[in-house]
């Protein structure tokens, strides 16, 4: 195993963490924590096994633990989330919408949705990474998708509400 292989994982991990956490700083912190955890757990990694999957496993353990310990940020009220949107509507509005809706999914559903949908992992790989049964992966994925679609369909209007949203920022 050489350094290139680890270095090569970094952009993918960063991007994944960015979408998972919805925040640039939190994402890089999570990647850093993941690498440090990996450093202290390196004896548990078998040479030749899938490095990427192992790093994702560590990352999810950290992330889901953080979320469990933290106040229920995931259950934030939609009005509150809307306020985080910068006013300027631009071509990336759809992406912003999607990111915001992703953050409104429960963390464990988001994890399944992203591992399968974004990272193209199989149900089996996802199940191993999250240490849950394959059946649970499938049911969480299905719930996540339905919920995401519902959220996306419910929020085509936010751009119109930018003006009132500003009021809430004081």
């Amino acid at each position: 195993m050489n350094r290139t292989q680890v270095i090569e994982q970094l952009p993918g991990l960063r991007r994944y963490a960015r979408v998972l956490t919805g925040d640039a700083w939190a994402a890089d912190d999570l990647v850093q924590d993941t690498l440090e955890r990996a450093c202290s757990k390196w004896l548990l990694w078998r040479s030749g096994s899938d490095l990427r999957a192992w790093l994702f496993t560590l990352m999810h353990n950290l992330y889901l633990n953080q979320r469990r310990g933290a106040p229920p940020l995931a259950a934030v009220d939609i009005d509150e989330v809307r306020d985080q949107l910068p006013g300027a509507p631009g071509p990336s509005d759809d992406a912003l919408d999607l990111e915001r809706c992703l953050q409104r999914l429960p963390a464990d559903q988001r994890a399944v949705l992203l591992l399968v949908g974004l990272e193209d992992m199989s149900y089996e790989e996802t199940a191993r990474i999250l240490a849950i049964p394959v059946g649970t992966v499938m049911s969480r994925l299905s719930r996540a998708r339905i919920r995401l679609r519902a959220l996306m369909e419910r929020t085509p209007e936010p751009p119109v509400e930018h003006a009132p949203a500003l009021r809430r920022l004081k």
Binding site: Q5, V6, P11, V31, Q32, W42
Partner: protein
């Protein structure tokens, strides 16, 4: 069995595909963005430990107790190495070599911006980097070995600015020469080979300056190039 003409499963597959496409478009830019140095450092630390572990696996025939003792020793060494002051005399040099290999790994695959200043502005490149490194630099010519200058860039190092010169052969194989002041290192050392970084290379010090030549080449090829560089840089 009557099925409705509108097949919901296909519809669902299409929706899913659309959702996935949208997901995959998120933060695509990060896949090509430079990675913060703190993350690279953490990644290298991890790689080093894994490399050590892999080695022990390969030598699996060894008695378990011996293996265990070695692993403990290595882990302890690594702990001590980055945890405390680097007391070993050659530590800064090794760290220099590590940074050189890292810089190579980062910029060598770069397609659009492999260098900051290209070979076309060679004179400016040398002047600029000489100024920043505080010493008149000379660009080794490696054309006889088949390598043409691509250009160079300025990089940060532990003990000040570093320069990286990149060369490329006809097949697109790239090598980098990394150099900078290393005041704490021995004034002059022999060539040392490093094979455990992202890329192999030779490094040496001369008159308070460190040099590292990195490339995905055989040890013999690297030695030939390093020798050519060394000769040309002699006053």
């Amino acid at each position: 069995m009557m099925t409705p003409p509108h097949d919901t499963s296909t519809d669902d597959a299409a929706t899913w595909q659309a959702q996935r496409d949208q997901l995959k478009a998120l933060h695509q830019d990060l896949l090509h963005a430079p990675v913060p140095e703190a993350l690279q450092t953490a990644a290298l630390r991890l790689a080093d430990r894994q490399a050590q572990q892999a080695q022990w696996w390969r030598w699996g025939g060894m008695a378990a107790s011996v293996l265990f003792a070695f692993v403990l020793g290595w882990a302890g060494r690594a702990q001590w190495h980055h945890g405390s002051a680097e007391t070993a005399a050659q530590a800064p040099t090794q760290r220099f070599a590590q940074q050189a290999a890292l810089a190579h790994a980062v910029y060598q695959p770069e397609v659009r911006h492999p260098v900051e200043v290209g070979a076309a502005q060679q004179e400016h490149l040398v002047q600029w980097l000489s100024k920043r490194l505080g010493r008149p630099l000379r660009l080794p010519v490696l054309a006889p070995q088949g390598y043409e200058l691509v250009g160079g860039r300025l990089l940060p190092g532990d003990t000040g600015a570093r320069a990286q010169f990149m060369y490329q052969d006809g097949a697109g194989q790239r090598i980098t020469l990394y150099l900078g002041a290393l005041p704490s290192a021995a004034s002059e050392t022999a060539f040392q080979f490093t094979g455990d970084g992202p890329v192999p290379g030779f490094y040496w010090t001369d008159a308070g300056f460190g040099y590292a030549l990195s490339g995905q080449l055989t040890r013999a090829q690297l030695l030939e190039l390093a020798t050519a560089v060394y000769r040309q840089l002699q006053p």
